[in-house]
Amino acid sequence: MTSSRACATLALAFLGTACVGPEQRAIEAVSDLASLRATLDEVCADAIANRVPARFAERTLEKGRSRIERDRSTVAGLAVPADLREGTDSLAAAILNDIANAIPALRARDSAALVPIRIRLAALREPLEALETRARSFAAQPAQQ
């Protein structure tokens, strides 16, 4: 009896945690976007300081591009507030624009051209943090919004 009750409790916990809605997906996509911005910023800094091979930096940026596009389309397809969706879209577009400029600079080994890109990427940190906070507040109270 005790063991069957324990199994039932465990099963309920399992089912309860399995209910994942758009809120959680939005948080994950926005967090990933913020993490990717930080990654690209760091890789550009490493490339400028010659801490990593330029080809590695270039490949990391290429991979980051496809993940940013995926995160952007994930949020676009979710039932989330318009400001969250639009904010994600515009910030993702800004990062993608920086990647598009950074890749030719890396190919040309032009460190000077990477400096303004880094500055722009750094400037996106705060808006992304605000967006992440927005996604979390939406997840906390989705019904009221």
């Binding site: 916990a13 399992f14 959680q24 967090s31 993490s35 801490r51 990593v52 990391t60």
Partner: protein
């Protein structure tokens, strides 16, 4: 003199052979996402792996039998069927993760996608197993694996705050993403207590012809080797905590993990990371493939031993050949090895009660182990972690899978 040499080699093997893609991925993710807050999971897993490895070596030295042979003879075949099937699944997934790790290291160096490397890497591992003896495999990969000490050097160089490190050794609640936090805790424990580790260790003790006179050596190797091995994982967690967490980088790809080391070792850090990943995974892939062949052959009572010519234990060689082939196919499908690793490590932890139970029964049987049977402390420590891992897995796994 011979024992002293074996002791030194045993410790070297434990340190160099301990670290694999499971430790690398989970420690980096934990440090990047939660700084030093998950050090307690590393400490808890290390305590249990010390107990498990010591027990498996003790069992081999006292009985001169492998664990599957012992279960079959003393507890019957029935009790072994489920653990055996679970072990086969975990071994194959782990081989896939390790092959994926080598392939990712090659991807970092060459830029060619990891799934292209899966088959060539599989052939390399197979050739190594086909041609080399047990000691050649054990000592060469373990010696090369010492390159992973670069993570410890990097951690020391960064001078992490001691108070925060000590606080991390105590379990605490996360400020956000609790499912991810607990799932990572389970994955860290799973990476440390991977079943292949103690099945491989036990079989290795038989290959090295250990007897009761080796009980002291076994104890020292288990405690010192596993502790130093865990220090490498802790070093990487600290590096990721200082470098990646501060920059807001969460690790979900190997490229993100690779940028931790160049901050400490400019330019060479990147190469060191790729080499460490490749070598650690190569050593582990060889060990897990052998462990798969050991476990299967011992279960069915086939002739086994890496020191025999493949023609003399053909079924043993066939098992690791098939295991490597299946693992290669999984990686060739293009499934991200980092994802394979994280989920496999969590499964390792969740499966611990199933795969360790028959072993624990043997270890507590006075008729088999005599005066060397288990004490209450090792039983309680192993049981507590096994139950904790299972419960945490059951709660955090569905949320994480469906969330992503």
């Amino acid at each position: 003199m011979k024992k002293a040499l074996q002791l030194a080699l045993g410790i070297l093997t434990a340190i160099g052979g301990f670290f694999d893609i499971g430790n690398l991925v989970t420690a980096t993710q934990a440090g990047a996402s939660y700084r030093f807050q998950l050090l307690w999971a590393l400490a808890a897993g290390t305590v249990v792996v010390i107990f498990l490895v010591e027990m498996s070596g003790r069992f081999a030295a006292v009985t001169r039998k492998s664990i599957p042979e012992g279960v079959r003879e003393h507890l019957g075949v029935r009790i072994w069927i489920v653990p055996f099937l679970v072990l086969i699944l975990l071994h194959i997934l782990t081989i896939a993760a390790e092959i994926g790790g080598i392939a990712l290291a090659l991807q970092l160096v060459t830029g060619i996608s990891f799934f292209v490397w899966a088959l060539p890497v599989g052939v390399l591992i197979w050739l190594f197993l086909w041609r080399a003896t047990f000691n050649a495999i054990e000592y060469s990969t373990a010696s090369l694996g010492l390159v992973t000490l670069c993570f410890v050097v990097a951690a020391v160089t960064l001078h992490p705050p001691r108070g925060e490190l000590l606080a991390g050794l105590l379990p605490s609640l996360p400020r956000q993403d609790p499912a991810k936090y607990w799932f990572l805790a389970v994955s860290i424990i799973g990476a440390l207590i991977a079943p292949y580790l103690f099945y491989f260790y036990s079989s290795g003790a038989i290959e090295d012809e250990w007897d009761r006179t080796y009980l002291g050596v076994n104890r020292v190797v288990a405690v010192v080797g596993m502790t130093f091995g865990a220090v490498i994982s802790a070093g990487l967690l600290i590096v990721a905590g200082v470098i990646l967490h501060a920059r807001g980088i969460d690790v979900s790809s190997i490229e993100q993990a690779a940028i931790a080391l160049p901050a400490v070792f400019p330019f060479w850090g990147y190469t060191l990371f790729a080499v460490s990943l490749g070598i650690a995974c190569l050593g582990a892939a060889l060990e897990v493939s052998l462990s798969l062949a050991y476990t299967t052959s011992q279960t069915f009572g086939w002739k086994w031993g890496e020191n025999l010519e493949p023609a003399k234990d053909a079924r043993f060689a066939l098992v690791y050949t098939a295991g490597i082939l299946v693992a290669c196919l999984i990686v060739s499908l293009g499934i991200d090895p980092v994802k394979i690793t994280v989920y496999t490590m969590a499964l390792n932890a969740a499966a611990l009660p199933v795969v360790a139970l028959p072993f624990m029964l043997l270890m507590n049987d006075g008729a088999i182990m005599g005066e060397h049977r288990n004490g209450i402390i090792s039983n309680i420590a192993t049981a507590l972690i096994a139950i904790l891992a299972l419960v945490l897995f059951a709660v955090s796994f569905p949320l994480l899978v469906l969330g992503s």
